[in-house]
Each structure stands twice: as C-alpha cells, then as structure tokens.
Symmetry: C2
Subunit: 125 residues, 2 copies
C-alpha cells in the first residue's frame, strides 16, 4: 500500500470518476440542455432552437454524453421523416433542478455581478 490515490471516491481527488460526469453536466451546453429538458420532452430541433447558439455538432455530442451518463433518455420513433425525443431520467431531473438553481441565481444577481466586474476593472486600471 504505497502508491494509492490521496482521496479516492471524492471529486477533489484528481482520479475520481465523478469528475468527468460533473464536467459533462456543468459544461457550457450541458447546463443549458439539462435546463431546457426540465420543460419536458424535446426533439433535437426544438432543443437547437431553445438553446440559443448551440451548433448541431455540440448539441449532438452533449446529448450523447448526458445519455451515456444516464441523465437523458433517447427515444427514436421509426417514422419518416425521423422523429427523436429526448427526456430527463430521474437522475437527470435531480441534476437539472440543481443546475437550474445555479443559473437562476446568476440571472437574479446579475446586476450585482456586473457592478463587481466594473469595480474590479476600475481597480486594475
């Protein structure tokens, strides 16, 4: 027992497998996709419109990560043209609710944040 990791099982340990999972959910687009899916089942194109600015490529890879981590369920309807639904799993919904509180707090306190940024920038000039 010489070379074990310092604090295993803990996200503060560099080798903890929680880290990539957390990073998927808190990624630039992961946060917004989880938030959008709190509104209910969505199709690919609906998400694309709702999450303003996301490219097809990033939406696709974000959804794949979240699906792989068990946060999102993907349902393919065998029709033409294709119809694919995305929805949160129970775990995904729990994560998404925490994520929503995060960006809601940012939205609510934005004036304070902008004031802090302004003060910081003036201090530095």
């Amino acid at each position: 027992m010489a070379a074990t990791a310092p604090r295993p099982g803990n996200v503060f340990d560099r080798n903890c497998p929680s880290r990539p999972v957390l990073e998927h959910a808190t990624s630039r687009w992961g946060v917004l996709v989880l938030g959008a899916l709190l509104g209910g089942t969505r199709r690919f194109t609906e998400l694309r419109r709702e999450v303003d600015g996301v490219s097809e490529k990033m939406l696709s890879s974000t959804l794949q990560s979240l699906e792989r981590d068990g946060m999102v369920e993907r349902e393919v309807l065998p029709v033409i043209p294709p119809h694919v639904n995305y929805r949160l799993t129970d775990l995904g919904r729990r994560m998404a609710r925490h994520v929503r509180r995060l960006y809601q707090l940012v939205e609510e306190t934005l004036p304070d944040v902008l004031a802090a940024q302004d003060a910081y920038d003036r201090r530095r000039r």
Copy 2:
C-alpha cells in the same frame, strides 16, 4: 425594433451576460474552488493542495475570474513571505452551496452512472 435579441436577460439567449458568469462558476476548476472555499478561508497553496490536480496557472486565473464576478474576496497581508487569503462573498457562498449539491449528487449516484455508462457502451459495440 427590428434586430433585437430573441430572449434578452435569459441565459438561454446567446447574448445574455449571465452566460460567462455561469461558465466561470461551472468551469472545471471553478466548481472545485467554490467547493473548497465552503470549508472556510484558504490560502493559495492550501487551495492548490485541496483541489487535486490544479496547476498554479489555472488556480490563479480561476480565482481571478471568481473575484471579478464578485464570488470571491482576496485579502493580501503585507508581510514577508507573502500571505494571501481567499474567501467566499455572500453571493459566492450562495453559488457554492448550489455547486456543492451538484457534485454531491454525482458522488452519491456514481454507481448508477457507471452502470449506465457500461450499458451504453455495450449497446454500442
């Protein structure tokens, strides 16, 4: 009023100034720094040890972003050798508590997540 942004003031709008703020707090190292500071005031080197794997450069720039956004306060003691304390502001503490719930949920549900990943990977082979 022809070319106004679609949903201003809302993080789902690509021009919302909330986005970069949210991204700082949910960044790879931002999450862990906020979490560590929930334990109380920390010095630079203490954070470096506690947030396993962070480089000096990234810790420095993460702290600068969080300070600029009004989440973290920096206190420089005029002594030799230098002594610098970092602590959460009230806003930072509110953010950090939400962030902590996020990674605590990931840690708690990690077995389920790993199982989901395994099932996903087997489905794809």
